[in-house]
Amino acid sequence: MSHTDQIPFAYPDLVANPEPRCPCLLLLDTSGSMSGRPIEELNAGLHTFKEELMSDAMAMQRVEVALMTFGPIRVISEFQTADLFQPPTLATTGDTPMGGAIVQGLEMLEARKATYKQAGVGYYRPWVFLITDGAPTDSWQHAAAMVRAGDSQERKAFSFFAVGVEGADMTKLSAICSPNRPPMKLKGLSFRELFSWLSSSLGGVARSQPGQLVALPAPSGWSSV
């Protein structure tokens, strides 16, 4: 294959940094019910996330973060390495089109994997992290089917985690999540602890080697039984 067949620098970030990527998609509920302390703590959590990833030299170059909020469904940031990720200050917005957000997010993730493959950049099994304090206000059956098909023993396309904040409909979340990965309940508003756990976990995945089971830190700091 000659170099003239390729578009040079079509994905400059993947050329400049060819480290294998550990993609993490955040799907965050910013509906009206999150207003006040919940959204403040969520924003603080995002800052903790960025700080902790930056303190880990390998995670900084390998973990890629994309951030979407709902509703309305918005892509706040596309996939980029942690060093380039700027935590936004989120405000509360509208309703909770969780189904649509999940579908769009998973499609964005597949597109990113295709780009990695084109660039010859390796990647780890992606994480999708949904945080919500409510229930979907849109149709979510298609989203559930996509999650269960992708986060399965057969396909292992991604790992889908859902965290319910006080008031969340855990039954609906259980119907969306893979049976092997039931939704977790957030202890109070411990978003900082949650994001600290997430950055450690991603750091572990990002440096894992073939044949190694990644031991995740216990989520006891932020999840309630």
Binding site: H3, A119, Y123, Y124, P210, L213
Partner: protein, 228 residues
């Protein structure tokens, strides 16, 4: 090792133990020792290498897996506790034989001076932290076997070195990474002290290398060339 007919034959192998497989060090030592011993005996008996074929390699692999299974039983472990990759080469006067299971790669001098080619592309599944091990089932399909002409320069390395010397987007060897090391190697005196080269250790331990990877790094290189 001197071969019949006066030519020297090179037999080299690299095995990388799997992550936290608790006895992976034993598995990889065994795999390398058996490769050197059994392929060594085969080439001593047949310097043309023609009897070292796919069938020989498959049967050899079965026998090594059985030995690991026996060791596992003795030690009260599972076979996968000894999981490791394997890359091996036999280079004779008129031909060469290569085998591989897993990641890492074997690279040899190409036809053009200063150009290098890979024998097998590293075996990775979809994800960067997945590969094949010689202890797993279905190794008859995952064992890669190739024969080729004899070569004067060869390098065998584990996955920690891949990103330094392989261009993943074009699936080629990044030859400029190898040229200076082979040139340096050609200028050294052969020695039998069985110690790893201090210069290579320094290179593999350097910031330049370790900024890019914290995987284990294994590299074996050989050359018949002599520096001018």
């Amino acid at each position: 090792m001197p071969g019949v007919g006066g030519g020297e034959v090179l037999i080299a192998a690299v095995s990388d133990g799997a992550g936290t497989a608790k006895r992976s060090e034993a598995g990889s030592s065994l795999a390398v020792a058996r490769f050197l011993q059994d392929f060594g005996a085969a080439v001593a008996a047949d310097p043309s290498l023609t009897s070292i074929d796919r069938l020989f390699a498959d049967e050899w692999l079965d026998s090594v897996r059985n030995e690991i299974a026996q060791l596992a039983a003795e030690e009260g472990n599972q076979r996968q506790d000894y999981a490791c990759t394997l890359l091996g080469a036999v280079v004779g006067r008129s031909g060469a034989v290569y085998v591989q299971i897993g990641d890492g790669a074997i690279v040899v001098a190409g036809e053009e001076v200063g150009e290098y080619n890979w024998i097998f592309w590293p075996q990775h599944g979809e994800y960067a932290n997945s590969t094949n091990f010689l202890t797993q089932e279905q190794t008859a399909e995952t064992l890669l076997f190739e024969t080729g002409p004899s070569v004067d320069e060869i390098a065998i390395f584990s996955d920690g070195i891949e990103r330094l010397v392989l261009d993943l987007s074009t699936k080629t060897v990044h030859s400029p990474s190898f040229r200076p090391i082979f040139k340096w190697l050609a200028g050294t005196e052969p020695n039998d002290d069985r110690q790893p080269s201090p210069a290579l250790i320094a290179y593999l331990g350097s910031d330049h290398v370790n900024r890019r990877t914290d995987d284990d790094k294994t590299l074996v290189m050989a050359t018949r060339a002599v520096a001018d």
